[in-house]
């Protein structure tokens, strides 16, 4: 059973499949097989959050999930947030607040922000900081990221 198998995901509303060995992580399959390179590998051990994606409604670190564990799941990745050329409100406020520097942490940061707003549309600053505690940013110092998430709390899709 170490041999290759097909895994199927619905990613951002579209069906995808990959033919892989079971020792691949979900992050590797997204990036290397499906060419969805928005999720990044920072640490590979769950500490940095750069690989965050939403699996069945919950934000997880895809570097710690085996690809076959997510077989059949619905995924949202950063590639799925903009619709028809229109940015997601979080993407818009991240730009407006100048919350992006090198950008490496941002896909994970925005998905952690989205997971928060999906369950708590009006978070306070403490709740925002808790929600992104698992997402490291080496550039911005977090202040503008927190501001951007707060600014997106009105009218989130």
């Amino acid at each position: 059973m170490a041999e290759k198998r097909t895994v199927r995901y619905t990613i951002n509303g579209r069906s995808h499949e990959a033919y892989i060995e079971p020792n691949r992580t979900l992050l590797e399959v997204l990036r290397d097989e499906l060419r969805l390179t928005g999720a990044k590998e920072g640490c590979g051990t769950g500490d940095c959050g750069a690989c965050s994606v939403i699996v069945n409604g919950k934000v997880v670190t895809s570097c710690l999930m085996l690809a076959p564990q997510a077989d059949g799941a619905e995924l949202i990745t950063i590639e799925g947030l903009a619709h028809g050329g229109e940015l997601h409100p979080l993407q818009q406020t991240f730009i407006e607040k100048g919350a992006v520097q090198c950008g490496f942490c941002i896909p994970g940061m925005i998905l952690a922000g989205k997971a928060l707003l999906d369950s708590n549309p009006k978070p306070n600053e403490h709740e925002i900081r808790q929600a992104i505690a698992g997402n490291l940013c080496r550039c911005t110092g977090y202040t503008k990221i927190v501001e951007a998430i707060a600014a997106a709390t009105g009218g989130v899709a």
Binding site: M1, A2, T25, T45, G46, M65, Q69, N135
Partner: protein
């Protein structure tokens, strides 16, 4: 990661059979937040991995006043923390599940994984011990029940056999006027491992602040989580007071036998165990009065 055979059994029996067939080289996989890190970073190379994710009977919580709380071993921390009865009646468990890792970690990490991994710093272990939790364990010869404290054998070593599976945890309904709490100290505010963790549960007499029952469990200050039994006895049948709590805290401090590492010296940990026990006694008392 090295190659391994992968199985996702759809029944508990099938899972146990797979474990038995594959012997020492097999590892169970729940949320993967310990196992995958060990496979990537710590040279753990199982020949086979048996994932629990298709076993829906291992997930979820159920509460009944007469029977108490049942938590499936594969229930994730976020679900546990969000369960209203856990927050109200089993507060120490909500505290422990709520401080573990990040949002992402809590969405993946399971209660069974935290206990089976047997780290003395496991944040849900002291809560389960003071809440009197009994683990239900399934194996090739049927199932057995064990108090959670007895699963811990040493740092990273459990008393579970390789072909045994934690199925769930049973927590009795706390009596009236009972309050519990878990707190930990970490050098960083979040995303760090406890240098000391303390859980306390106090039950008060119906008409006074006399302590009927006290349970104290310390994490990260010994090779396993430990009860501070001398402190518990000193509290029992006495009226709650600052002096009594200070005395009990000193006894808890004496029960600690911590190691020194990068996160803190043994002396610091021992001292902290006392400070935090006193603080937790105060919080448990307030919660007990409100219950």
């Amino acid at each position: 990661m090295h190659r391994f055979e992968y199985f996702a059994p759809e029944s508990l029996d099938e899972a146990i059979t797979l474990l038995k067939e594959h012997g020492d080289g097999v590892k169970l996989l729940a949320g993967g937040t310990d196992l995958l890190v060990q496979m990537k970073e710590a040279g753990l190379h199982p020949a086979a991995v048996v994932s629990l994710h298709a076993l829906t009977e291992l997930r979820g919580l159920e509460f009944d006043e007469a029977d108490g709380l049942h938590v499936g071993a594969a229930t994730d921390m976020a679900t546990i923390e969000a369960f209203a009865v856990v927050r109200e009646r089993f507060a120490a468990l909500a505290d422990g599940a709520g401080v573990l890792g990040s949002v992402q970690t809590r969405n993946m990490a399971t209660l069974g994984g935290n206990i089976a991994n047997a780290a003395p710093s496991a944040d849900t272990a002291p809560p389960l011990v003071v809440l009197d939790a009994i683990a239900e364990i399934a194996g090739p010869d049927g199932s057995r029940r064990l108090p959670v404290g007895e699963i811990f054998a040493g740092p990273g070593t459990s008393t579970l056999a390789p072909d045994e599976i934690l199925v769930g945890f049973h927590l009795p309904t706390p009596p009236a006027r009972t309050g519990s709490v878990y707190q930990r100290h970490t050098p960083r505010k979040i995303m760090d491992i406890a240098v000391v963790g303390v859980a306390v549960q106090l039950t008060l007499a119906t008409d006074a602040d006399t302590i009927r029952e006290a349970r104290i469990c310390l994490g990260a200050v010994a090779p396993t989580v430990i009860r501070a039994r001398e402190a518990e006895e000193a509290l029992t049948d006495h009226e709650a007071s600052d002096e009594l709590f200070a005395q009990a805290a000193e006894m808890a401090q004496a029960a600690a036998s911590p190691i020194s590492d990068v996160r803190g010296s043994a002396e610091f940990r021992r001292y902290l165990a006392g400070v935090m026990t006193k603080r937790c006694l105060g919080i448990a008392l307030e919660r007990a009065k409100g219950a």
